[in-house]
């Protein structure tokens, strides 16, 4: 049986508009179950624990990256329970990376039940699947949904990106890698991800960085590149001469002033912060068309 944790506030209440069609489709596909609604910030984790204690084998997060991250932090290392996702949030990057485009296709993916074990990284005392960002990225996280919208929304996104990029002042950051070396730089953005979610194109297939985190430091972004950056393309040193790339198991980051840190697109704290690889995994129901 499936246990659905619904965040009714996600995506500006999107789930309320689709609720009838969603339940109807889940019933038709034979994956209907118990529905519970969260009422506050810590509610999602509590409900997830309740679902596990009731013996459900699939906990489905109905919401955005924040809701999924909350459920994920409760389910990790649980070999019996799988995480399902129905994206209805403002930002759905995690679902997108797992090949789950919208709520409709998500229901089909749930029914197909293709489960994969995904490695997690650790940031502070929390775990993440996709990436951690510090600097410009957290500033524009709320705009990202526009980049996937219709043409007027895309134009709005492009204009906002240019405005934000030109007004953004780089932050002075100190990065320490594996207690081996330190880097000091004025940073436009710092992006940390495991190989699966790294924006860096690998020169060679099978480059052995699976157990490492890629840290991409962008010191400056010219206006012409800011827009491209907004869409988070795969980047190379040729396209981005102002980038630095490091590989390590642990990164400790300090900034002159406390700066926002996002993990899986959600604000999780401020600098100083430590990010490490971890042995923790989570079982996730993914699409066959997943990007990782």
């Amino acid at each position: 049986m499936y246990y659905y944790i619904v965040n009714p506030a996600a995506g500006g209440g999107k789930v309320n508009k689709i609720q009838e069609r969603l339940t109807e489709r889940l019933k038709r596909l034979g994956v209907f179950g118990e529905f519970v609604k969260s009422t506050g910030p810590d509610d999602v984790a509590k409900l997830a624990r309740l679902g596990i204690s009731k013996g459900y084998k699939t906990i489905v997060a109905v919401g955005g990256d924040g809701t999924i991250n909350e459920v994920m932090n409760t389910l990790m290392d649980n070999e019996k329970v799988a995480l399902g996702i129905i994206p209805t949030g403002t930002t759905n990057d995690l679902a997108d990376n797992l090949g789950i485009k919208d709520w409709y296709s998500a229901t089909g993916i749930l029914a197909a039940r293709k489960i994969e074990e995904i490695n997690l990284g650790k940031v502070g005392d929390r775990y993440f699947v996709t990436s951690v960002a510090i600097g410009f990225e957290p500033r524009i996280a709320h705009l990202r949904r526009l980049s996937k919208g219709n043409l007027p929304e895309k134009i709005k996104f492009s204009l906002s990106m240019l405005k934000h990029a030109s007004a953004y002042k780089p932050i002075k950051a100190y990065l320490r890698f594996d207690n081996s070396y330190e880097a000091e730089a004025e940073c436009f953005n710092i992006f940390i991800a495991g190989e699966s979610f790294s924006p860096i194109k690998k020169k060679q297939k099978g480059a052995s960085s699976k157990q490492l985190l890629d840290t991409v430091v962008i010191t400056k972004v010219p206006g012409s590149k800011a827009l491209k950056y907004g869409y988070l393309p795969k980047i190379t040193s040729v396209e981005w001469p102002k980038i630095s790339v490091f590989h390590s198991k642990r990164i400790d980051i300090e900034t002159r002033k406390p700066t926002d840190v996002t993990a899986d697109g959600q604000l999780i704290g401020q600098t100083p912060i430590g990010i490490t690889t971890s042995e923790k995994t989570i079982r996730v129901i993914v699409s066959k068309k997943r990007k990782i």
Binding site: Y181, A183, L212, S244
Partner: protein
Amino acid sequence: MFEKPKTELAPTKSHGAETIVGTSVKLKGNIKSDGDIIVDGVITGEVKTKGSVVIGKNANILANVKATNVSVSGMVQGNIEAVERLELTESGKVLGDISASILSIAPGAIFTGKSQMAASHQEKEIEPVVEIEEIIETEKKKEEK
């Protein structure tokens, strides 16, 4: 037609990912890697890799460098040990001792220090001479008979 002169090192068969120290990044400590390293910033410490190290025009390195291949277009104050090839381009400056199997210094490059060619390369050059001498001697013996 004419072949373009080589300005960049061919990538080494490394097993790790590429590390890039970009411009305006100051790095302190010991970088150890299995992959290639590209430097355009400032490094103080030590650089060691099984891959190649490419030191760009804007780079300033106060460190010893050890790699399979090394290309220098910027400033290095320290010793360089290249297992295979060391290349100083016309803008390269090295203040320190160097060792390599294959050494290439372009006109305009500045190098102050001792240079040493790796023993394996020298042996390769000596081997054919011995063979020729042996052939000559055996031919002489044949003639004498």
